[in-house]
């Protein structure tokens, strides 16, 4: 079963980005998406300019198309949806940032996509693009209450069906609301 070792991959995730080039990470991907869908990318960031932390914030209505493009285009090929999650920023106008971590086997690089959603707004589901999003979107729906448009089977996944609130929201307290309070059935006292 063991085979010859695969081509040496000692470059730290994408650290092979052209050194010296001033272009921030994922500039090429931004251009790729913009060429097809003008104005789809709203922001472009990268933590400490690390290539592995390249982030594109995309417009919500362009998410599925941009995702399909990034998956299929030969210079991107982000075929693996590594992770899908959300972050809650209660004060913001668009408090729910849904975060997609993509990985490309062909180019050995990672990309983070983000969409920002209003409270109660439906985010388009990426299940048609990456089948693995099915459970991850259910989890985000379960824990954040972000709903996904076009998801084949949007049910709670970790919490019981009748939980009623979404614990990973920042306004969900560590105790109190949302927790089920166990009340001891009152014991019959002598003489009752």
């Amino acid at each position: 079963m063991p085979d010859e070792a695969q081509p040496d991959g000692k470059e730290e995730g994408g650290a092979s980005a052209p050194a010296g080039a001033k272009a921030p990470p994922a500039q090429d991907l931004r251009e790729l998406v913009e060429r097809e869908y003008a104005g789809a990318v709203l922001e472009q960031t990268a933590y400490k300019d690390l290539a592995s932390e390249a982030t594109l914030v995309v417009r919500m209505d362009a998410l599925v198309q941009a995702g399909a493009l990034l998956r299929d285009h030969p210079s991107a090929r982000f075929r693996l949806l590594s992770d899908l999650t959300a972050v809650h920023y209660p004060g913001d106008e668009r408090p729910f940032h849904v975060v997609y971590h993509l990985y490309s086997f062909d180019h050995n690089r990672r990309l983070r996509l983000k969409v920002k959603a209003r409270d109660g707004e439906q985010v388009p589901s990426v299940v048609p693009v990456w089948g693995g999003a099915n459970w991850m979107e259910r989890e985000v729906y379960d824990l954040f209450g972000v709903s996904f448009k076009g998801h084949p089977d949007l049910r709670r996944i970790l919490l019981p069906e009748d939980w009623g609130s979404h614990p990973l929201r920042k306004d969900y307290p560590l105790e109190g609301r949302g927790e089920r309070v166990y009340t001891k059935p009152r014991r019959k006292e002598f003489g009752d």
Binding site: E53, D83, T85, L159
Partner: protein, 380 residues
């Protein structure tokens, strides 16, 4: 969930006896669901027509906890995610946080971390092999595997004082250097273990019944596996040569020589072969770590209060089960703003339906075994 048919008997024609589909609950208390997994199967005879998982019985809100405690305090919680391979979970967390800070870790710490992470891979794969074989009815492999797993747990005890939830690593390196006895015993184990793998293989690899039970069962193509975000040995069993240790190396992996085994058919048997070979490769890595182990400090300078800059990182490692990652959003305070655990078991379990449809009940058991889940990390 499925529509459960009402229990009232439907009036049937007296000529043709009717048949009904059977809905069967596997778990959460079932010998082969490896924890508190509940699988709801709709059966026609013994053929699986539909399959749904009910998870979350072990949900402890670990991500929420992570938002409310400091970076250091979260390390023991990672032990309780993939408790079969606790040092691996520790490693994922500490490397993610170190990426957030941009610290330089001393080489000795890197090597010891790699060594311990590979031990945890062996321990995890041994538990997988034990239970997987037991699920298919091979009982002796179970106890043989536990014999070796016991040795690995003893090693952990020598180095960290605990066997299962070891809390092995600290931010910036290790808490203290490992004792010499640990290294000696590790060497002893690494010399002994390949022979023991051979023992397991004599019982299984060419066993006709084992082949019949695992070959062609739970087949998934490479494209489907990628589409379903399956990672780890399942993906490699389908022929995708992707291992984060090799593709995006961390710790001491860039300096080590090992082979990433892949399968061809993507069935239960290939996943079995991949994991068996991974155990061999882990032993090789351990040998190399012990031979190359550099001298020096085991921790970089860590400030008393750990306050990272604001920002976000995603860092994943090759856990025995697949890609185990942390997505940390920091707002510059002492506690993370958001901790996201990328759980391989959870994502891989999402592929169960695809794998199990059309098979028999006995295949479901083999497939769950071959996915290798641990519910602590699946439910978080």
């Amino acid at each position: 969930m499925f529509e459960v048919e009402s229990s009232t008997r439907v009036e049937r024609s007296s000529v043709v006896p009717g048949t009904e589909e059977l809905i069967i609950n596997m778990g959460p208390q079932h010998p082969s669901t490896h924890g508190v997994l509940r699988v709801i199967l709709r059966l026609d005879g013994e053929t699986v027509k539909d399959c749904d998982c009910d998870i979350g019985f072990l949900h402890r809100g670990t991500e929420k906890i992570g938002e409310n405690i400091t970076y250091t305090m979260f390390i023991p919680y990672t032990d309780r995610l993939d408790y079969i391979a606790a040092p691996s979970s520790n490693l994922a967390w500490v490397t993610a946080v170190e990426k957030l800070f941009g610290w330089e870790i001393p080489m000795r710490a890197h090597y010891i971390r790699t060594l311990v992470a590979e031990f945890s891979r062996i321990s995890s794969h041994l538990l997988w092999l034990a239970t997987h074989a037991l699920d298919i009815g091979a009982m002796t492999v179970f106890l043989w595997c536990f014999r070796e797993r016991e040795m690995v747990l003893d090693l952990f005890e020598h180095a960290f004082g605990a066997r299962l939830t070891v809390n092995a690593f600290r931010l910036g390196g290790l808490f203290q250097d490992v004792p010499q006895k640990f290294l000696d015993l590790s060497q002893e184990f690494a010399d002994l273990f390949p022979g023991r793998i051979g023992d397991y293989e004599t019982l299984l690899t060419d066993n006709r019944i084992w082949l019949q039970r695992t070959r062609g069962v739970g087949v998934i193509s490479a494209d489907d596996a990628i589409d379903l975000s399956l990672t780890g040995p399942i993906l490699r069993g389908s022929g995708v040569r992707w291992d984060i240790r090799r593709a995006q190396p961390y710790a001491a992996y860039p300096y080590l020589d090992f082979v990433v085994p892949v399968g061809e058919n993507g069935d239960v048997y290939d996943r079995y072969l991949v994991r068996i070979e991974e155990m061999r490769q882990s032993t090789r890595i351990i040998q190399q770590c012990l031979a190359q182990l550099p001298k020096g400090p085991v921790s970089c300078k860590v400030p008393r209060t750990i306050k990272p800059p604001a920002g976000e990182v995603y860092h994943s490692i090759e856990n025995p089960k697949g890609e185990f990652g942390f997505y940390i959003v920091s707002d510059g305070s002492e506690t993370p703003y958001r901790v996201r655990i990328r759980p391989p078991s959870f994502v891989n379990l999402g592929g169960l339906k695809k794998l199990a449809l059309g098979g028999l009940v006995a295949d479901v058991v083999a497939i769950i075994g071959s996915i290798d889940i641990v519910l602590g990390e699946c439910d978080r």
